[in-house]
């Protein structure tokens, strides 16, 4: 039955395209990715207009202090984290633990991850990349890097090393083409928002209500 539908549809499409459809005659100017700047000033400039907050750490010590200060200021009692070398670089698990936060490591997560995170205050992640032109965080799923961690808790902290800054989305897609696609790649630009009631813009609909980015200037 399913094969029949498939073959019928593809058969009709083959017949429709057999003679070749007319191509546009006008030459198009090829896209030029990767011309833009890649520095924290440009990235943070855009990022902070979209809702997230940004803090630049010049050393691991500054990053640790920034993380500790953030959890203290936001009454974080529970947190979930990714397994990621960028988190290790700032000893994120130890800092959270030291600040009195109960930290859930990936291996502690139950079979259904999202419901278990519904009451968690904070998700701490790294990023695969960050885009300067659009202030975007690129989150890629992998073992130990759950999709729910930056999505379900009420707060999200992302650690962004300088070396992961890319100019823009076209450059990202070029990079993604170099390896197998992860099961999920999320390009997040700002804080979840809606304008669905009378076009009044409201932030914090479904994802985290606030996003904080710590730039790791030495990494």
């Amino acid at each position: 039955m399913r094969t029949r539908a498939r073959n019928a549809i593809l058969g009709r499409l083959r017949a429709a395209t057999a003679a070749g459809l007319p191509r546009p005659s006008a030459p198009t100017i090829p896209r030029r990715p990767g011309r833009g700047v890649t520095d924290f000033a440009a990235f943070a400039g855009v990022l902070t207009t979209l809702g997230p907050t940004f803090e630049l750490a010049r050393t691991p010590e500054e990053a640790k202090a920034a993380l500790a200060a953030y959890v203290a200021a936001n009454s974080v009692k529970t947190a979930v984290r990714w397994d990621h070398p960028d988190l290790d670089a700032v000893a994120a698990a130890d800092i959270l633990d030291g600040a009195g936060v109960a930290v859930i490591a990936p291996e502690d997560l139950p079979d259904r991850v999202c419901p278990s995170l519904a009451a968690v205050d904070l998700g701490v992640t790294a990023v695969a990349y960050a885009l300067c032109a659009t202030g975007s965080l690129i989150l890629a799923a992998a073992p130990g890097r759950e999709r729910g961690t930056p999505l379900v808790p009420r707060l999200h902290v992302a650690l962004v090393p300088k070396s992961r800054l890319l100019p823009d989305l076209p450059t990202l897609l070029d990079r993604l083409g170099e390896a197998a696609m992860p099961s999920a790649v999320n390009c997040v630009s700002g804080v979840s928002s809606t304008g669905d009631i009378e076009f009044v813009y409201v932030r914090g609909v479904h994802g985290p209500l606030a996003v904080h980015v710590i730039g790791l200037d030495w990494l």
Partner: protein, 470 residues
């Protein structure tokens, strides 16, 4: 005139009577148009982006069967399953069976126009599966028992007071503060996300070479729907595919600015297959349902196929004077406005009013706004040609015959001159006749002594004057 279940004329007259909805619609559309214009103006290379996008869409359509086969192979390789559906009904039946077989009771849905097209919610409900719309606008529409009125902003026509009353009735929480109402919806929907057995989303762009489903949104509900439940079903119409990531980048260059005036939406997600070995979340099963519902036949149509370039940005709706005045419901179909007036009559199910292509002022604002280079006026003209080829139109035929004979044409006008003072009387006696309705807001100036009879003396005067000057 052909009979149809839906009559746009009647439905639009009714919509025009709803002053409150019109006022909200007006404000909202004005707002989106400003955002889009600002965003396009801020991109000095927008016309280059547009030209690239048109080239990518055309290249895609020319290679559609190959790309769909590649997509199928790559999704399968990434642990997903691909299903093809010929019609709206078979698509909704397929998805319903798939979910019922897996014991699914609760589904969370991201906004997807194709799921509206295939009538999925009704099919799921009939099978005892609760489907909850999770886009805030779509959720409001679902709670109110309505249909979307815009392809991007489904609750465009609903006032905050109406939302407030709806939420008070459904959740017992009262507020007219929009952020607070948004919070009420978040709390209610969160429980659904966490408990859902499956998530259903649409697909803005499918990338063949990687087997990737790309979705754009601001709220995050699609990300949750595709990430939390153990099953993810993505539904797409078959023309939504592109070949490569680079081609996707070209479409993404124009889609958010044309749709919402953003460079990128808050959430741009690339989902490729099911969760991988060692991953603790993401769907254990991922299904991609590819729906035809008439599109393979549109591709075979040499004149109308360019409607398949459409990327569903909604720009044509927002500039259309007819859509702006009557809103989406008057169209009686899932896809309203210019793109809908072309596409809907060509779909297998729910084609709407066959005379829809006539409900157009020929202003061409749609073609000017379209980032995918669709010439809606030309396509609507072709549809009008096809509809009228099969019917008699005595007024038009008589007019054409008269216009072939200047004496008759002039005679008819002379006759008109004697009668046109009576038009106002006709309008007064029969206010609902075509003449009466035409003259409701117009005072017709009446026919004059023809120009051609005045020309000779004018020409003499002008030539004397010219002679005098030289």
């Amino acid at each position: 005139m052909s009979k149809s279940a839906h009559d746009f004329g009647q439905a639009s007259a009714k919509a025009l009577g709803d002053r409150q909805s019109r006022a909200i619609l007006h404000k909202a559309i004005g707002h989106i148009r400003v955002l889009r214009q600002r965003s396009v103006n801020a991109m000095p290379d927008f016309s280059e982006r547009q030209a690239r996008a048109v080239a990518v869409r055309d290249k895609t359509l020319a290679r559609l069967p190959d790309l769909l086969e590649t997509l199928e192979a790559k999704v399968t390789a990434a642990g997903g399953q691909v299903h093809f559906a010929e019609t709206a009904d078979s698509a909704s039946a397929l998805i319903t069976k798939l979910l019922a077989d897996r014991g699914v009771r609760l589904v969370v849905k991201g906004k997807s126009m194709v799921s509206e097209e295939i009538g999925l919610n009704d099919a799921l409900a009939a099978a005892g599966i609760e489907a909850v719309e999770t886009d805030l606008g779509e959720y409001i529409i679902q709670l109110a028992g309505q249909r979307p009125s815009h392809i991007l902003a489904p609750a465009l026509h609903v006032s905050k007071e109406q939302v407030s009353e709806l939420f008070a009735r459904k959740f017992g929480r009262t507020s007219t503060d929009i952020p607070e109402m948004t919070r009420i919806a978040r709390d209610s929907l969160r429980q659904k996300f966490m408990a859902a057995d499956a998530g259903i989303t649409g697909c803005n762009i499918a990338i063949a070479e990687t087997g990737t489903v790309t979705v754009l949104e601001n709220e995050g509900n699609i990300r949750l729907s595709a990430s939390c439940p153990p099953i993810h079903v993505a539904v797409m119409t078959l023309e939504k595919v592109v070949e490569t990531l680079a081609d996707a980048a070209v479409v993404l260059d124009i889609l958010p600015p044309s749709a919402t005036g953003q460079t990128l939406p808050v959430h741009l997600s690339f989902f490729t297959g099911a969760r991988r070995e060692g991953e603790r979340d993401g769907p254990k099963e991922m299904h991609l349902v590819i729906v035809d519902n008439g599109r393979s036949e549109i591709l075979a149509d040499p004149v109308l196929r360019s409607i398949l370039r459409c990327i569903r940005c909604g720009a044509c709706l927002n500039v259309c004077p007819v859509y702006q005045s009557v809103g989406g419901h008057a169209y009686g179909t899932v896809y309203p406005g210019p793109m809908g007036s072309v596409l809907s009559p060509l779909l297998k199910d729910n084609p709407g009013d066959p005379r829809q292509p006539f409900a157009c002022t020929h202003c061409a604002a749609c073609a000017e706004a379209c980032p995918a280079g669709i010439d809606h006026p030309a396509l609507l003209q072709e549809l009008r040609r096809r509809v009228s080829a099969g019917e008699s139109d005595p007024a038009v035929t008589a007019f054409s015959l008269l216009a072939r004979h200047p004496l008759l044409f002039g005679g008819a006008a002379a006759l008109g001159r004697t009668f046109d003072p009576k038009l106002a009387e006709v309008a007064a006696v029969a206010p609902d006749s075509p003449v009466g309705r035409f003259l409701r807001g117009r005072a017709f100036p009446g026919l004059s002594r023809p120009f051609s009879r005045r020309f000779k003396s004018l020409a003499r005067r002008l030539s004397r004057k010219q002679g005098g000057q030289s």
